[in-house]
Amino acid sequence: MAIDRTSVPRWGPEPPGVDAAGRSFAIVSLGEAALPVAAAWAAEIAPGLPLRHVHAEVLDEALLARFGRELGRAVVGWRLMLAGPEDEVQVLRARAAEAGALPCEVRAHATATGALRVYCAHCRTTGRAAVEIGGVLPCTGCGADLVVHAHHSRRLAAYLGTRAHVETP
């Protein structure tokens, strides 16, 4: 069945360009594959405009805390560029939106799309696994087998998972 409108993110093969209207920028790159993307963005930003580039191999609590401080300091005119694995990029994008960033102020590129974050509709735990939409994974919270729906929440940075096989007696 073809779906015209969907909440499932679509990633282009090429990273988006830098928003030339921005007056200050933050780039977060996660993993080695994101480094060349970040470097190309940095080169595109007009010299003299404030730019902070943070690189990490994985998204951990320390980086999230640092990112939170960056969001707290950001003033309107700031633009965020994110490169890294899909699920980690989405976590940062959700944090930025929570801090008040508009979709047009955040540009992102997924360097890998293997793993998904899945939110359990029953126990509300979010887990992460190498699974595809329509696939099944065990919930790390309640242990139920969850089927992954083609339904993505930008706020939770996760796909919806509900108990598999509940409709078959």
Binding site: R23, A74, W78, A101, L102, E105
Partner: protein
């Protein structure tokens, strides 16, 4: 709605504040902050911002600057007089997801900002109001001072002070702020320009204009209808009036290019758009005949 004037007060030189309510009392429709009503003012229809916070109320409060025939008519109203008032409309509501609201008012443009400030106080939303005015001509100043405290910054008279403060404010607002501006066209133009300069995306910038800028009478032209019929539009007569004289009545309200009521499909021709309603994209397929016209080549309308 048929309402009556409950009371009239002099807000400042040239500005009267009117409270309107139902003849027998009772609740009026609620509205988002920054909403307005269209009032039948003699032979004019003028849009006035509602200054209340938008919650359920048994009266609407509007402040009228005396400047044209319609507002002069409004200034003659006495308590008890009937007035025909539209349901409230909204084109200038606070953005629900905003983390902070930067309000900018110039002169009588303070009226929707008073509504925004009242709602922000009521719902405990962070805000700052920058108010530029001429001394002695500042409507609602005492109540704004009491309402806003240090969240009100005043710029009496000094156009340069106001401009410098606006430029500075637009460069230091935390992420998540939205800016709202109402006032003379020059103020709105300045804020739009400075916001763009400071990197504000258009999605964060919200503008309320008084009315379409006064434009000249225009050249005469013909309008063609789908039936093939041609209606002449003389210089100095609006397209809407010319159609009405030819017996073609369109729904219309403000007749100032603001409300959107008379929107009409545009099939062919080069329209001279003078309204404040249609987006750039819509202008290739629609026209607001109350204010917009054509050059001598005329237009074809979907009528």
């Amino acid at each position: 709605m048929r309402l009556v004037v409950l009371d009239v007060a002099e807000a400042c030189a040239g500005v009267r504040t009117l409270r309107l309510g139902r003849p027998g009392g009772g609740p009026l429709p609620a509205h988002p902050p920054g909403g307005h009503v269209v009032v039948v003012a003699g032979d004019r229809r003028n849009a006035y911002s509602l200054t209340g916070d938008g919650g359920p109320a048994d009266h609407y409060e509007i402040s009228v600057l005396r400047k044209d025939a319609g507002s002069a008519w409004m200034h003659r109203l006495e308590p008890g007089d009937p007035v025909e008032v539209s349901a409230p409309r909204s084109r200038f509501a606070p953005v629900a997801g905003a983390r902070r609201h930067l309000l900018v008012a110039g002169g009588i443009g303070v009226t929707p900002m008073l509504s925004h400030a009242r709602a922000a106080v009521r719902w405990d939303r962070p805000f700052l109001l920058l108010y530029g005015y001429r001394p002695g001509h500042a409507a609602h100043l005492p109540e704004l001072r009491e309402l806003c405290g240090d969240r009100l910054l005043e710029y009496p008279g000094g156009r340069e002070d106001f401009a410098a403060a606006l430029t500075a404010a637009l460069r230091c607002q935390p992420l998540g702020t939205h800016v709202y501006v109402c006032g003379p066209g020059s103020l709105i133009g300045f804020v739009l320009e400075q916001a763009a300069e400071a990197g504000w995306p258009p999605e964060r910038v919200h503008v309320e204009r008084f009315a379409a800028e006064e434009a000249g009478p225009g050249v005469p032209f013909d309008v063609r209808l789908r039936s093939g019929r041609r209606v002449p539009v003389p210089s100095g007569v609006s397209l809407l009036e010319a159609l009405e004289r030819a017996g073609i009545t369109l729904p219309s309200m403000c007749r100032q290019g603001v409300c959107g009521e008379c929107r009409t499909g545009l099939l062919a021709g080069r329209a001279l758009h003078r309204d404040l309603y249609l987006t750039a994209e819509e202008r290739s397929t629609a026209i607001m005949p109350c204010v917009s016209r054509a050059d001598a080549d005329g237009l074809e309308l979907d009528l």
